[in-house]
Amino acid sequence: MIVRQIALRNVLRQKRRSLLLIAAIAFGAFAITLLTGITGGIEGNTRGNLTNLYGGHLYIRGVERLETGTLIQVIRDETPLVAAIDEAGIEVESVLKRTSIRGSLIMGSFESSATIMGVDWKEEALLKERLPLVSGSFDSGMAENSIIIPEKLALKLKAEVGDEILARMTTVTNQNNVVNFIVAGIAKDTSDYADAYSYADLDYTAKALNLQPGEFQSLNILLKDADSTDAAAAILQETMAKTLTVSVRPTTTDPTTSTTVATGGETVTSPVPATGKTGGMGGMGGMGGMGGGMSSLRSSLGTVAGVSGVPGATTDAAVGKPIYSISTINDMMKTVDNLLSILDSIGKAAFGILLVITMVGIGNTFRMMLLERTKEIGTMRALGMQRKEVLWVFLYEAIFLGLAGSLAGILLAFVIGFASQLLPMSGINSLFLLRGHISFVIDYVMVAIVLASLIALSVIAAFSPSRRASLLDPAAALRSTH
């Protein structure tokens, strides 16, 4: 007890020096806690935004070869798929049909690229809930050709509720087409990513893509437990393969690797997945200045969500016999996860460098302390203090400094992190944001690791001078001129 009191007194005695050491340790703790909190928030927001955007965690898409040889993305009959979902026994919150049109919206002389999601409004309660409207409504006058457009797009087109706008696109076979829409609502820009998305009636968009009534492009499954996504995808794939032709999900991150097709227990491998035609004109551009990583994300989003390419569509596809593929939110998240892991690695490397510098600082400070307190150590030893107790006086000082520094840094990170949630963010792609704000998610395991590692490293840095202090000869120490 007396040892801890002496250690605490020593810490408080040299306030300035202690504060500097605490500040150095706090900076490291602050940086790594803030970084992990923000990357955690980005990961969570991206996952949440994508789940809302695509109406689920699992996406089943069908690819069919036409007699002309062209591959198109279409699901003509959902019955066998729904039966497979039931048979697989996965716990499902909702199963939604979707189509996707990429093209441009035109009003007068104004034209802007856009992606229109075809949705079944009767089934899309979650979408309606997550898509606040600044004007218009989902319910009043939702005609066949009604469309909900995001605020920024409305501004670009100078469109208001009730206006007629044209949509220029290509059909599933890449034929030019144009349809008209009436703006039924303008959605608040809660997400920059979603702001490229407009929503319209499923059947009307299917018709625009030159699909027959009742046909659509993807069946999106919202699971009750998002953590079971990969397991659910594996079970569903196995179940579907019993009766349907299913393109097995690539296990590597390289989408160009060979694709295996399971047909009622048989598997076929195609060396090069063919790119099919799914409708749309491209022209979506980037995702708001996020660089190459975001282009890659765009590509993977397009691929997985059924906007552009058709991974898993194989050259083996027979005329009129669909091949189904399953993708998941986790497939889409791979690119985001890669970006975040790079950010995380950079953060951890910087944290490591900071730790080394701090350790050197702590070590030097303790060496100075040893010199300054040589006489004091001699006196304490002369009064009966044991070597071990001298060692622990120094080590407790290091523990107190490490504890105070890391706690201060962590607390400061919490304050800054939570305060940053209140500020609206601009210039950051809102796919990463929650309603335009950054999220700060505390990773308690990481916090514990930071706390423990900073205390441990402070002790390690201080150990050598502490040991030398404990080994001082009392008489020699008393004779010391320091």
Partner: protein
């Protein structure tokens, strides 16, 4: 009196007979117009020789502050269905190239030194011209004549031919071709969507005739959905001289950028 009446009746019948027979003798059918479209395709296809020209594209758009000008050198070998286009203007895109062999098309970026596979249905950079428009015309094979009427376009008597795509992969589901009656040269094509809305009008105001070939030296592509959006394509420095085989290769495009 009776004889006069009989004579008049006979005369009337004879006139009607000659009118009907002569009209049917000169009337044109859908099948014949299909053949005229094949003739039009043939006249703009250079199967027996190579084709080289400088192509200038001037695009206007309500969002542009001034017209955008692009210039290319085009090499065509229609016999092999091959084409190469090398960008001359704007300076910033100089050296970019396009290579088409059959239905495959690649774009070359000299900065990244990479070829990217592209589709014939994509528009050429910021213009209203599709890659498909730069290949040999195939209107007669892509479309079937479903009807026609006679009319006037400016000073010319024309057939206004209703065309329907032979399959769902032809870029436009329906077209209306305005063909001169005297020499069967196309003056204008209106392209419609699947929903039968006019999407684009293509004008061919000037032609150059070389032997039995007709080359549209000026073509105007007008976007009918966005007012004020159009691209005017002019061709000059036309040559039918042989082009070395090496030109129609990726290596050539890479080489000119070294």
């Amino acid at each position: 009196m009776m004889n006069t009446f009989k004579f008049a009746r006979r005369l009337l019948l004879a006139t009607a007979f000659f009118t009907i027979t002569s009209a049917s003798a000169f009337a044109i059918t859908n099948e014949e117009l299909q053949e005229k479209l094949s003739l039009s395709d043939y006249r703009a296809t250079f199967s027996g020789s190579d084709f080289q020209a400088t192509i200038k594209m001037v695009s206007t758009d309500p969002t542009f502050t001034e017209p955008k000008v692009r210039e290319y050198t085009q090499f065509r070998r229609d016999g092999n269905d091959a084409m190469v286009m090398v960008t001359l203007l704007p300076e910033v895109d100089k050296g970019q190239g396009k290579l088409r062999i059959d239905e495959n098309m690649w774009s070359y970026d000299p900065e990244s030194r990479n070829f990217t596979h592209t589709t014939l249905k994509e528009n050429i950079e910021g213009t209203d011209v599709k890659n498909n428009d730069m290949k040999k015309p195939t209107i007669a094979t892509d479309y079937t004549v479903v009807g026609f009427k006679e009319g006037k376009l400016g000073a010319f008597d024309v057939y206004i031919i209703d065309l329907k795509a032979v399959n769902e992969e032809v870029p436009y589901a329906f077209q209306k071709a305005y063909m001169r009656k005297d020499n069967f040269v196309l003056l204008m094509i209106q392209s419609y969507s699947l929903t039968d809305r006019l999407l684009r009008t293509t004008y061919y105001p000037t032609y150059s005739k070389i032997d039995d070939k007709y080359i549209a030296t000026t073509t105007i592509y007008k976007d009918e959905l966005v007012a004020g959006k159009q691209t005017t394509v002019t061709m000059f420095n036309i040559s039918l001289a042989p082009i070395p085989d090496t030109v129609f290769s990726k290596a050539y495009i890479e080489k000119i950028n070294k």
